[in-house]
């Protein structure tokens, strides 16, 4: 072997080891959970595995923050991070738990419902790995931007066809890792089915009356700026919707299809006594028409291609140069939680839930200096 070959081989080997070390560390780092700082009013922190022991030690085990009010009442569950590539769903749950003071009833918050999905990114989507904010104390906070579905490392292989256990509904194989296609779950199923099962056990064991599942959708998806509700929720959902319209929030109310299975708004309503509500806000960074995908896009929602698409009538939400900043998307979710909870508590007066100190749409978005949108203003609500 010539001297030149040895040198070339050594250089290649060192380069390969360097790349493997850097990417390997990054691969392991994303498994570390974000540090959350619940408000001083948190009364207990549990784990999802407390409701189904099989999750203990898996990447699906995740914290549940419990806030008990001083007065007895109903109970409520907020699911953030069902789809970890929909940041407003996750961050609305975070903003809620870092600020809330519950007066009446009990509120459970699971900010990372699909914890496994926070440990990877969707392949070939060029999604950012992290979102960064400066909190109210001037410190940097970092949150994961994950994938729509569970990490394949945790649940593999995908079948060719995913058959929903309860209904026999057939979906593409990758949907077997989508938590929001696995409800009501089963104790002997795959990891996502077990995760769904654990959440259902929480709802049943704690007698959760009202459940919110927070999402985002691409602007070209017809169900956007929307609330999807089980039929048994329609009375208070319509009341809440009117209040949202009063707040200047344009939102449509959609009935949960009876023939689309595995989703919270269908199965939690059918299999438990809870009243499930799912909300969607527009997120360009998960859309198909987007341009360069990065942290800025995820936080500001600005994208020139969506502006063009809107001019051509190709999207289902208004889209202009101002985008849809994270404050608007989180504010919609939080105001939705506020109004639907009020309407629920008014109609179901035997199980009221009330809370305070949660920033609403005005505080989070409309009353804000536009230069502070796209992250800085949201950060001011973090501990």
């Amino acid at each position: 072997m010539g001297k030149k070959n040895v040198i070339s081989a050594t250089i290649c080997l060192v380069a390969a080891l360097t790349i493997a070390t850097v990417t390997g560390k990054n691969f392991m780092d994303v498994k570390a959970p974000d540090t959350l700082h619940p408000s001083a009013n948190v009364t207990e922190t549990k784990m999802l595995s407390d409701y189904f022991g099989d999750l203990k030690g898996t990447n699906s085990d995740t914290p549940i923050y419990v806030f008990k009010g001083s007065k007895p009442g109903g109970s409520m569950l907020i699911l953030g991070g069902t789809h970890p590539n929909e940041p407003a769903g996750y961050l609305a749950a975070v903003a809620f738990l870092e600020n809330v003071k519950v007066d009446q009833g009990t509120v459970y918050v699971i900010p990372r419902a699909c914890n496994s999905g926070f440990t990877n990114n969707d392949a070939q989507e060029a999604s950012p790995q992290y979102l960064h904010f400066t909190n109210k104390n001037g410190q940097e906070r970092q949150f994961r931007y994950g994938s729509r579905a569970a990490n394949p490392v945790d649940q593999w292989p995908d079948p060719d066809v995913y058959i929903h256990a309860g209904s026999g509904q057939q979906l593409s194989g990758s949907e077997t890792r989508n938590l929001n296609r696995c409800y009501p779950g089963r104790p002997d199923g795959n990891l996502m089915e077990k995760t769904a099962y654990a959440i259902v056990q929480l709802i049943k064991n704690e007698g959760v009356d009202l459940t919110f599942d927070l999402h985002e959708s691409s602007p070209e998806y017809p169900v956007n700026d929307a609330t999807v509700a089980h039929e048994k929720c329609m009375d208070f959902a319509a009341e809440g919707m009117l209040e949202l319209q009063m707040e200047g929030i344009n939102m449509s109310l959609e009935p949960s299809p009876t023939n689309l299975h595995g989703l919270t708004h269908r199965e939690l309503g059918d299999y438990t006594n809870t009243y499930p509500i799912l909300m969607e806000a527009p997120n360009a960074s998960q859309g198909r028409l987007r341009g360069a995908t990065n942290e800025e896009m995820a936080l500001t929602g600005k994208d020139k291609f969506y502006v063009s698409a809107a001019k051509l009538g190709f999207v289902y939400v208004p889209y202009d140069e101002n985008g849809h900043p994270i404050e608007e998307r989180v504010g919609r979710h939080l105001q939705g939680i506020i109004e639907y909870t009020k309407a629920f508590s008014s109609i179901h007066s035997d199980k009221p839930v009330s809370f305070e100190n949660v920033p609403g749409y005005e505080e989070m978005f409309t009353d804000t200096d536009p230069s502070q949108l796209g992250g800085p203003h949201f950060g001011s609500f973090l501990n």
Partner: protein, 221 residues
């Protein structure tokens, strides 16, 4: 050697281009294409009607025309029917609500209220398609006309309830209506104003859905 390098570069370029085009196709990827088509065609439809609407002259309701009891139904199976039901509650009127009302549902009703707005989720929930919904509504309004009911068409969902699917349900509802109430954001192109003008029916337009109860109350004797 140059040829080899050129070929290698071309091959690498093709690989990069093909990978960039291989976006994940799971989840909602089929929706955007249909969405794009549907909205484009609805824009074309709207464009055709807006010129006539621009010159349309429509007056608001001058005096009450409707009486209780009321049968409230959806036209398009959106949850806007629940919103309209809630608006009635605000003025202490309790309509009989039947999302899938037929001629047999009319009973002793004196007024039929049509909550217009298409929803693919709602149609799916009802287990019907748009054509079946249109057929149901056509039979219902014909029967209501035969029995002398007052028909009120309500489009309260704004821009959200426009587009190819929702627009299918607007014309059939307006054609047989005696009066229409519309939230302005849903009629920026004047489609409904144009229909009200061509059918010579009164129509009131409100800025917000929360303005509807007062207008609705004024319609009842």
């Amino acid at each position: 050697m140059k040829l080899k390098k050129g070929l290698a570069f071309a091959a690498a370029l093709m690989m990069v281009v093909s990978m960039a085009a291989c976006g994940e196709t799971g989840g909602t990827s089929s929706a955007p294409q249909s969405a794009a088509k549907s909205t484009a065609s609805s824009a074309a439809t709207s464009g055709a009607t807006s010129s006539s609407a621009a010159s349309a002259s429509v007056q608001g309701l001058k005096q009450p025309i409707a009486e209780q009891p009321i049968l409230l139904t959806s036209v398009g199976q959106s949850a806007d029917v629940e919103m309209v039901k809630t608006l009635f509650k605000k003025i202490n009127i309790d309509p009989t609500t039947d999302h899938l009302a037929t001629a047999d549902s009319i009973g002793n009703a004196k007024t039929l209220v049509l909550a217009i707005g298409g929803s693919s989720k709602g149609l799916g929930a009802a287990g019907i398609d748009a054509d079946q919904e249109l057929a149901r509504v056509a039979k219902l309004v014909d029967a209501a006309k035969d029995k002398g009911l007052t028909i009120i068409a309500m489009h309260t969902g704004g821009q959200t309830r426009r587009g190819e699917l929702s627009d299918k349900f607007i014309k059939p509802a307006f054609e047989k209506a005696d009066y229409a109430i519309v939230v302005a954001d849903g009629d920026k192109d004047g489609l409904m104003k144009g229909l009200a003008a061509s059918e010579s029916i009164p129509m009131n337009t409100v800025d917000k859905i929360t303005d509807v109860p007062d207008i609705l109350k004024a319609a009842f004797k």
